[in-house]
């Protein structure tokens, strides 16, 4: 009787040892491990299948589970904790110069079209620039101008005012203030004008956006852009 007890205890000890070995081997392995891989490390006659199932049961409710993939075994994060392995990371990035310039023009000249922006900047606006600005949430598509080509008009949003700590769009400094701040030189020709920005409701020359605009498809085409560049020199 006591012999049997002793035997049993020894058996349990051996099993425990086998379990620890399996645990360590699967943990350290750089890929899932099969029963065959484990065999050489275990005591003779060990029932690997049984041991693996026992180990899997041990980890069943833990943060890490021992899972079977076909005939191979690996540790994996418990499925309900998978969210831990997703990380939301926020990156702050400064706006590129092109984006910043475009944003500034939209702010001052709104409602304005892409063609007008290009005309003021003297270069064509890359497709990405407006996309990025739309992504920032600082500008929005307002409507479509009632001119040939029906170009989309852009304007700034409340988020824009928030970000730049402006209580209203009229707080944007005017010509004299820009000069006073040294941002504009005094040698400018007298005919330079800085428009009064307007971010209110649609103007008379603006139509509502169409269904497809709202779905994010900007249907302006190149020839429209070219044609709609107003001739300022007149």
């Amino acid at each position: 009787m006591s012999d049997e007890l002793f035997d049993n205890e020894e058996k349990l000890e051996l099993e425990e040892r086998n379990l620890r070995i399996i645990e360590a081997l699967i943990f350290a392995a750089d890929k899932p491990v099969s029963a065959k891989d484990l065999q050489p490390y275990l005591s003779d006659g060990a029932d690997i299948e049984h041991l693996l199932k026992k180990l899997a049961a041990l980890y069943e409710n833990r943060g890490v589970n021992l899972v079977r993939r076909e005939d191979e075994w690996a540790f994996r994060t418990a499925e309900d904790l998978a969210f831990l392995l997703r990380k939301e990371d926020e990156q702050t990035r400064p706006l590129s110069r092109a984006s910043l310039e475009t944003l500034a023009i939209i702010a001052y000249h709104q409602p304005t079209t892409r063609a007008e922006i290009e005309e003021i900047r003297g270069v064509s606006t890359g497709k990405g620039t407006l996309d990025i600005l739309l992504e920032t949430g600082w500008i929005k598509m307002r409507g479509r101008r009632r001119t040939p080509g029906r170009p989309i008009t852009y304007g700034t949003t409340k988020e824009f005012l928030d970000h730049f700590s402006l209580s209203s769009i009229k707080d944007l400094p005017g010509l004299e203030e820009l000069k006073g701040a040294g941002l504009l030189s005094n040698k400018l020709p007298p005919n330079i004008q800085i428009p009064v920005p307007f971010d209110g409701a649609l103007r008379d020359d603006e139509d509502h956006l169409e269904e497809e605009d709202l779905q994010g498809k900007i249907v302006e085409e190149e020839f429209l852009l070219q044609n709609s560049v107003p001739n300022e020199e007149k």
């Binding site: 997703r86 990371d89 941002l183 020709p189």
Partner: protein, 306 residues
């Protein structure tokens, strides 16, 4: 400690002795230049050792001393001290000093180049020896020989302790050798949301800069109306026509002088033109008083000709 070095054997009692770089540093009075980094010329050294070996090969009572495997004089000294087979605390520093000096003599006889710090240490050990032999006087400002010897023993013990510690350290279960981290790392998926930032100053600066840039690019300075001499001649010819009355120049130019900007150019050019026409004999010029109006008329002779 496995030292993969050539061994040399020398006669019994001939210990290779070396000293301490530390003391070498302290003793730079003895050897100002090239204190530490003069290396032993190994090739020559080996030759010397080979000679030694041949010479002493019949000596049954021999001792092996590693040379190349030593990490400097202190290391060698520690090994030699161990060969005294006593606790480091009980080594005879005096004996070590004597052995070291004998060694230096021997090596010099064999013309083996030896690093300067060995020589410096030899000098220091000679000094130590003398301090050990001469009784210490209380008036002595220098540390006693016993003190210096104790210091040397202490240093040897410290090095031995660190050596032992390094062995224990490296024999610990080490990550990636005996102990393992998880083999399959589960990567963390990072969703990066970009947040843009810009200051109002940046915005205004960008606006002002580009407005200024594009305006200056489109700016065309208005062309100043400059009359060339030929133009002035033609105009003057036309204005004067066949008039033979004296008429002031500015009266002819009345319609051109309304523009302030052009005024000086018009006057200058037409004055030059009037001189030119006078030279050609087409005009006559007259001025009644200095700075008064210049009067012009068609030359009569021409009129007659026509």
């Amino acid at each position: 400690m496995d030292k993969k070095v050539r061994r040399c054997h020398i006669a019994d009692g001939e210990y290779f002795m070396a000293g301490l770089t530390f003391f070498a540093l302290k003793a730079n009075l003895f050897c100002r230049a090239n204190i530490i980094y003069l290396a032993v010329n190994m090739d020559e050294f080996d030759d010397g050792l080979l000679n030694l070996r041949e010479k002493d090969s019949d000596n049954a009572n021999r001792m092996y001393v590693d040379i190349r495997g030593y990490e400097g004089p202190l290391d060698l000294l520690l090994d030699l001290a161990r060969k005294q087979k006593v606790d480091l605390a009980n080594i005879s520093v005096l004996e070590l000093a004597e052995q070291y000096l004998e060694f230096i003599e021997k090596v010099r006889k064999n013309r083996i180049d030896i690093a300067a710090d060995y020589l410096v240490v030899a000098a220091w050990l000679a000094y130590l020896k003398s301090r050990l032999l001469v009784p210490h006087r209380d008036s002595d400002e220098e540390p006693s020989g016993e003190m210096m010897a104790a210091m040397l023993q202490f240093r040897l013990k410290k090095l031995e302790a660190m050596r032992k510690a390094s062995e224990q350290l490296i024999n610990r279960p080490r990550l990636g050798r005996q102990i393992f981290a998880r083999g399959q790392i589960e990567p963390v998926n990072i969703n990066i949301s970009v947040k843009f930032k810009a200051s109002l100053y940046d915005l205004l600066k960008a606006y002002a800069t580009q407005r200024e840039r594009t305006i200056s690019a489109n700016y065309v300075p208005s062309k100043r109306n400059v009359w060339s001499l030929q133009e002035a001649v033609n105009i003057l010819q036309r204005l004067i026509g066949n008039s033979v009355d004296w008429v002031p120049l500015e009266k002819y130019l009345l319609q051109y002088l309304s523009e302030d900007e052009d005024r000086s150019s018009v006057i200058a050019s037409s004055f030059s033109a009037s001189l030119e026409l006078a030279r050609q004999g087409q005009l006559e010029l007259k001025q009644i008083a200095p700075f008064s109006s210049l009067l012009l008329r068609r030359r009569k002779a021409n009129n007659l000709k026509q």
